[in-house]
């Protein structure tokens, strides 16, 4: 079976700064892989490389068995990758939570087509899985940072992805909720048969949940466990 994610000797430069300098990471199907590193180590950049929003200037990136360098348009692939960004949207556009989660379906619904009942059902199932269904009618910008992060997780799940990319998913949560959300993520990972790539600065947080852990330091990856 193809590896779900494979990065081989990946180099990324942003302006004059070399952010990734020969990163090698692989995640087999259904694995839970964590990447730990300090702030500024290039963790977010690495996730952007995996979902194709950032092209490396050197190295090979295979996602679901496809070499990303062979495709100009990667939208078809992104529909199979759920992304939970570190920062919540700063938008002041009034969008209800249920609408923000439903957006996870938009890529799969297709252009000019309206969301149908099964799409709404999937959005509500995702909100229930993350525990935000009681906020469904609230506006996203009225929620706390932690709640908005859960909205992002629910949106990624509504996408029904094969791969889930999580960028510091506990950033906006109080410390008592850290392990709770991590357990939720881990349970969803198993229930839905996902391949999960999580980046965090906190190695203790991911220690017992991960199949493998990489560290990212000075732009280079090292297999820790």
């Amino acid at each position: 079976m193809h590896h779900s994610i494979e990065l081989a000797e990946v180099y990324v430069r942003l302006g004059n700064v070399s952010v990734l300098q020969g990163v090698n990471i692989e995640a087999k199907p259904y694995e839970f892989i964590s990447i730990v590193g300090a702030n500024g180590a290039g963790k977010t950049t690495l996730l952007k490389v995996v979902n194709g929003t950032l092209r490396p200037h050197q190295g090979k990136v295979l996602v679901l068995g496809r070499d990303l360098s062979q495709f100009r348009d990667l939208n078809f692939l992104r529909r199979d990758i759920g992304v939970v960004p570190q920062t919540s949207s700063s938008s002041r556009v009034p969008i209800r939570v249920e609408e923000a989660v439903l957006m996870g379906r938009y890529g799969k619904i297709g252009l000019m087509k309206k969301p149908k009942k099964p799409d709404w059902d999937k959005a509500y199932q995702s909100m229930e899985a993350v525990g935000i269904d009681r906020f469904a009618k609230k506006l996203v910008y009225e929620l706390s940072g932690g709640e908005q992060q859960k909205v992002a997780l629910a949106r990624a799940l509504a996408q029904e992805p094969s791969i889930l990319l999580l960028d510091e998913p506990t950033t906006h949560l109080d410390s008592s909720s850290h392990s709770e959300i991590m357990e939720t993520i881990h349970a969803i990972h198993h229930q839905r048969g996902l391949t999960t790539l999580l980046v965090s600065h906190d190695s203790q947080l991911v220690e017992h949940l991960s199949d493998r852990i990489y560290s990212l330091k000075n732009g280079k990856s090292h297999l820790m466990r």
């Binding site: 992304v83 938008s91 009034p94």
Partner: protein, 267 residues
């Protein structure tokens, strides 16, 4: 002369029809401007149009078509150029705004053009619209409405967060460029109608009012159209009644609507 009698004149009929079309559709472009923070882009396009006008005057031809052409060309080019240069749209807009203004002033100086004449492109006249102008306004307005109706969910995702739109697999860039293109066309057509300096009467002010009280994107689009239509028609009527320039009156009415929305929001 009464209002009804005035409406017997073709120029008043054309003005009213154009205001109805533009009043309904153009404020929706204002919603894009506010949500995506495209204010610098709007300024850049106005100044690029001024350069087109200055070239027209330099060549001793009608400055308006060249101004509009430059505006449309900018709406096609600015998005991809900012992408290629890896500079934000605001930055690249600032660059082109100052550069085109500098060229316009050089042309105006060298050709010994009267400054007021050069700036004539910044003032339009809604009472001098031709049948062709009316067709252009109508076609553009219908196009804006159809695009928003057909691609509402894609537009909703992009206005909410472009990165999210991209992450869920939407052709975010194509839609963003389409929005910029529609913005350029709207500015070009508005310049012909009411002049570059008063574009906000139709484009931005009704959208600002709608954003103040709208509780969903659908409501914002709907309110912006209603406010655009109201300020346009009432503004035209009051300008006739008090013998005041139409675009200025439309702005006063739109500003009053904003003030009312501010009060409603605070309650």
């Amino acid at each position: 002369m009464s209002w009804i009698q005035a409406l017997n004149y073709p120029f008043m009929q054309k003005a009213l029809v154009a205001i109805c079309f533009a009043g309904v559709a153009f404020p929706m472009i204002g919603v894009f401007i506010i949500s995506l923070n495209l204010i610098p882009l709007r300024f850049a396009m106005m100044h690029i149009a001024l350069l087109g006008g200055a070239i027209g005057l330099f060549l001793k031809i009608d400055p308006m078509p060249l101004g509009l052409l430059f505006c449309i060309m900018a709406s096609i080019a600015l998005g991809p150029v900012s992408e290629k240069m890896k500079l934000g749209l605001g930055t690249i807009s600032g660059y082109f705004m100052t550069l085109t203004l500098a060229f316009a002033f050089i042309l105006i100086y060298k050709a010994d053009i009267h400054v007021l004449q050069a700036f004539s492109i910044l003032w339009g006249n809604i009472l001098s619209l031709t049948s062709l102008d009316l067709m252009v306004v109508g076609t553009l307005s219908l196009t804006i409405l159809i695009v928003i109706f057909l691609f509402f969910k894609e537009i909703q995702a992009i206005l909410y967060d472009r990165e999210i739109a991209l992450a869920v697999g939407l052709p975010e860039k194509a839609f963003f460029y389409l929005i910029i293109f529609m913005l350029g066309l709207t500015i070009a057509v508005s310049m012909r109608m009411i002049g570059a300096l008063l574009i906000d009467a139709f484009v931005l002010l009704p959208a600002m009012a709608a954003v103040l009280i709208g509780r969903s994107l659908r409501q914002i689009f709907l309110f912006s159209s209603v406010f655009g239509l109201l300020s346009g028609v009432i503004g035209l009527y009051l300008s006739f009644l008090f013998d005041i320039p139409t675009s200025s009156m439309i702005i006063l009415v739109a500003s009053l609507i904003i003030a009312v929305c501010m009060i409603l929001r605070r309650r």
